[in-house]
């Protein structure tokens, strides 16, 4: 058997199979009493208003994070391209945040926006905004999106810079000769040619927002206030490891697996067709 196949079997199919099996069980935390219940856990999870809320939270969070992270990164990349001196320095500085662990990034933003001691929270308050992420769900979501997007900007920046360098200078210069302004040149030439990069980043950012932000949610809000920031991944953790309802938690992770498979299929089948490669 090929080694890569063995690795896939051990690290993917085996645990995935275990999750599937666990999702059809009702079991106490210690595994002393087990009952096979077929799809009862799935029915229960899908009928649970808290789960539906979690789906909504996840969609809002992922979209906002992807849009903010990619938008800001593109802006920075275009700006850095224009810099005459110190291009390398800008780039290096902008790439640094990527090396920060998600939980640390979360803590950093938590400190900045802490209602009592945060410097940015102080600024907001002096602007007359009653900043309270502990009780206001919208504020908590803004805080989470900022932390998650900030963390991803460096990565996106790196790819956009590379993408921008691949745009032929001759095309831009030709357009300039024809009298196209800077904005027009960007939207009609640079942006379409960046499409492969943008598409790739869209996939990466969505997957990141969906699955890699657990550490940030855990450190910043813990899913609160109420259930305002409980994403699907966080709910799997909370139900499984805090509330110890293993069947529900496994059912949710199986649903998540289905979502990832579907998302990837859709993105590669339909979105990719519309992208120009070169």
């Amino acid at each position: 058997m090929a080694p890569q196949l063995a690795i896939t079997l051990v690290f993917f199919y085996w645990p995935a199979g275990q999750a599937l099996y666990q999702s059809m069980l009702r079991q106490d935390p210690f595994g002393l009493r087990t009952k096979f219940v077929w799809f009862a856990n799935f029915r229960k999870v899908l009928a649970d208003p808290a789960y539906l809320n979690s789906i909504q939270v996840t969609v809002v969070f992922s979209l906002a994070t992807a849009i903010v992270a990619m938008g800001v990164a593109l802006l920075l990349a275009v700006m850095a391209e224009k810099a005459v001196r110190g291009k390398g320095l800008y780039r290096t500085l902008l790439i640094w945040p990527y090396a920060v662990a998600p939980a640390i990034a979360g803590m950093l933003w938590l400190f900045l926006f802490n209602p009592s001691i945060g410097s940015l929270a102080y600024l907001l308050r002096s602007l007359g905004i009653a900043w309270d992420p502990l009780l206001n769900g919208t504020h908590a979501m803004i805080l989470l999106v900022s932390a998650a997007a900030w963390k991803q900007i460096s990565y996106n920046f790196l790819f956009f810079v590379a993408g921008l360098q691949a745009v032929p200078k001759t095309l831009i210069e030709a357009a300039a000769m024809d009298g196209a302004g800077e904005t027009k040149r960007f939207w009609t030439i640079v942006f379409p040619l960046l499409a492969p990069t943008t598409f790739f980043l869209l996939v990466v950012n969505t997957v990141y927002a969906l699955f890699d932000t657990f550490g940030i949610v855990h450190a910043v809000t813990g899913g609160g206030p109420g259930k305002a920031t409980e994403t699907l991944v966080y709910k799997v953790y909370n139900d499984g490891f805090v509330n110890l309802i293993l069947g529900d938690s496994a059912a949710q992770s199986v649903i998540l697996m289905a979502i990832v498979i579907a998302l990837t299929a859709i993105q590669f089948r339909y979105v990719e067709r519309k992208v120009h490669y070169g």
């Binding site: 002393l32 001691i117 109420g226 309802i245």
Partner: protein
Amino acid sequence: MKFFGFAAGVAATLTLLSTTSAFAVTQISWWHAMTGANAEVVDKISKDFNASQSDYELVPVFKGTYPETLNAGIAAFRAGQAPDILQVFDVGTGVMMAAEGAIKPVAEVMTGAGMTFDKSQYLPGIVGYYSKPDGTMLSFPYNSSSPILYYNKDIFQKAGLDVNSPPKTWNEVWEAAKKIKASGAASCGYTSTWLTWIHLENFAAWNDVPWATQQNGLAGGDVELKINAPIFVNHFQALADLAKDGTFKYGGRTSEAKQIFLAGECGIFTESSGGLGDIVKSGMNYGIGQLPYDTDAKGAPQNTTPGGASLWVFGNKSDEQYKGVAAFFSYLSKTDVQEYLHQKSGYLPVTLAAYEATKKSGFYDKNPGRETPILQMTGKAPTDNSKGVRLPNLPQVRDIQNEELEKMLAGQQTAQQALDNAVTRGNAAIEEALEN
């Protein structure tokens, strides 16, 4: 050089192997969740125990936060690799009790090792909480705490309040908080950690009203929450009203509010007695009072219930290991060990002898307030409402309560709605947990 290193290594290994086989020391594993000063206490106690005898070696292993330690224990049990001793926080007590096949009651461990186990030597409030309805002690109370009131004397002075008499009832707290806010002595009057533990579970016990049916779950069976009774509704409506203009400030679900109090933002604060260390360290001019009670309650103040954690012993271990565990628990019950634990960590002593000895040493005269949590917990014999609360899924039920209370404090619902929702959702979750 390389060769010498290798030879030395082999020699060392051989020596180690031979010592183990020669003395046949039984290793006892203890998974715990203690950090900072409390972790030093764990290490010191373990070292001293190992030095005190030569048959057993206690090996403490830090496993993360309380929930992480509980999960590590459960996962290890499922994999057949459970430790001998696991430290489980109060909220996880019901989870452990529901797993009768997985654990061995501490009382059995002690008697099985030929030791006499006298329950009357331990603080009754604590022992009662960690026992089965028939009185069998299930786990060993290692670190226990109780919620008390702290106040900032400088802020009291500025607000024109009496610095030597902390508010005794909740109404007095509300009045004092309003005065602090109105006088501009501080931007907020009152804050609290752990709303579920302090304002629901201990509020019920201290005022001698039921938190749930079946002796708050201690008697087992079908448990229904009773936290939407008028006394709770009035209490939380008062809190919600104070939250509107910031007289009460919410800090978070666990102990986050401590930062608010330490920053001097609020004048009055309710928190675990275990939180004293940080307040002392901050250099604040603080005072301590008993947990406030509700004047509408007839029996108040009754007694508070223990928080903290206890040590559980897993089942299916060898007799030799159980003897080692029993030896450790009897060492842990020694007066000087308990005295050390109490004075160093701020948790309560679990034996009456250690409490008396600490009192005699003059510790409480030098550290006023350190006795308050003990007096609160032991002042009166516990009633059916004040032995503690126990559910197979208390973490989940607390989560539900927190969510509803947060919505209430954000002004999205009234106290009545919040507590009604918490009861409906909580009861459904309990029913489901009991089915498993």
